[in-house]
């Protein structure tokens, strides 16, 4: 008989477990909680010291970022942006500066603005903009997140922009292994701004104030990224030097932590919901009176969290 077996004791409500499956009792829930907490803590520690073994899988390429950005613009009836080597160098300098000075912001702690980096690269802009992203896993998720955020979407879909530059770089920010993506937009002539204003009178791009070159720090970026496998990028990416060195980041750890937790959540919480459902059904059928939480409420709650966890993305925008 299943009911009298160990399986019955663990998963079915019966007299041996006080009419509540052992796997759903408070002591069992507490053990799950502590085990998951310890596992999370342990994986974090291992991941920090050995990100090649236990880390976050990443594959972000400038060619893909450009393609997805231009697809979004074309879907909105806008002209595609041209990949600009000076803006890419400005983005590379900005990304390096963020790692060197350990900050996550549009302006550096020493007061440098994005426009300083653009001017330093030799790009003479009339209008410019910057989007930042960190810790996304693919080029698609980066552009999707930009499009989902109203202010970043405004930048991607600003008609006045003509050029774009990117830098993708891996390094350590605030003690954490981080993949940064810097996207810099620009237009060099007032003609494009006027054309854009004529086409779309509701959008009034505000030209960014020009910064004097004397305020610009002229650092040579240090290439931190070493993970890039750039064989196929070499065929598609048109630039050389600094801009090319920041054109792709690929990390493939032995265990992808993000995927691991998603799948564990799906399996573990799914099984818990299954036991809760069977328990609720048997208790209702037998009309058992007992003191316990409401199984259907637990199922609703855990189901919504499984959904959120599957779609959760640890990437940040600025």
């Amino acid at each position: 008989m299943v009911g009298d077996s160990v399986i019955g004791h663990l998963f079915l409500p019966q007299h041996t477990n006080n009419h509540r499956p052992k796997t759903l009792q408070i002591d069992a829930l507490f053990v799950y909680f502590v085990l998951l907490l310890v596992m999370n803590f342990g994986l974090n520690i291992i991941g920090r010291s050995r990100p090649d073994v236990l880390g976050y899988a990443t594959d972000i390429q400038v060619t893909q970022l450009l393609e997805y950005t231009n697809t979004a613009r074309e879907n909105d009836g806008l002209s595609p942006l041209t990949l600009n080597t000076q803006l890419s160098e400005a983005a590379a300098r900005k990304a390096t500066d963020m790692f060197t000075k350990n900050y996550w912001a549009h302006n550096s702690p020493t007061g440098n603005t994005p426009w300083d980096f653009i001017v330093a690269s030799g790009y003479t802009y009339q209008i410019a903009g910057e989007n930042l992203a960190k810790n996304f896993d693919t080029s698609r998720t980066v552009v999707d997140a930009w499009m989902a955020s109203p202010s970043h979407r405004d930048n991607v879909l600003k008609p006045a922009y003509r050029d774009v530059g990117y830098a993708v770089i891996n390094g350590t920010l605030n003690g954490e292994e981080t993949t940064l993506v810097v996207q810099m937009f620009g237009a060099t002539s007032t003609r494009s701004i006027v054309q854009a204003a004529e086409r779309s009178p509701t959008i009034a791009p505000t030209p960014v104030p020009r910064t004097t070159p004397s305020a610009v720090r002229n650092e040579t970026p240090v290439i931190i990224s070493e993970a890039a496998s750039q064989t196929d990028t070499a065929l598609a990416y048109p630039f050389s030097g600094v801009a090319r060195a920041f054109s792709r980041v690929t990390n493939q750890p032995l265990l992808n932590v993000s995927l691991f937790w998603r799948e564990l959540a799906l399996v573990f919480l799914g099984m818990l919901m299954g036991v809760l459902f069977v328990d609720a059904w048997l208790v209702a059928r037998r009309r058992t009176v007992r003191l316990a939480g409401h199984n259907i409420a637990h199922i609703f709650f855990l189901g919504s969290f499984i959904f959120l966890i599957q779609w959760a993305q640890r990437g940040s925008l600025l």
Binding site: I26, L29, A148, A265, A297, S304, L308, A312, G315, S316
Partner: protein, 81 residues
């Protein structure tokens, strides 16, 4: 029965509003974590009110809701952290 329908409608509303808020915060994992914590807290509070109204509120029941919420939160923190 009617009180159950009202209570579960409120729970559904909490979970739907929480999920919509969560999805609207793309690119901001810190605020997503705050949203998750708020959802779990609201769930525990809902459980307390629900069982108090049903006349079977007990410390064991409260602990059960707290642990279910905490387990779900550990997974969310692991993915977003």
């Amino acid at each position: 029965m009617r009180i159950h329908i009202v209570h579960f409608s409120i729970l559904a509303l909490i979970l739907i509003i929480g999920s919509l808020t969560f999805f609207s915060l793309a690119g901001n994992p810190q605020l997503r974590i705050v949203t998750g914590i708020a959802m779990a807290t609201a769930y525990v509070v809902w459980g307390i009110f629900h069982h108090a109204a049903s006349g079977d509120l007990h410390l064991r029941v409260v602990i059960e809701y707290v642990l279910v919420g905490a387990i779900a939160l550990v997974f969310l923190l692991a993915v977003l952290g």
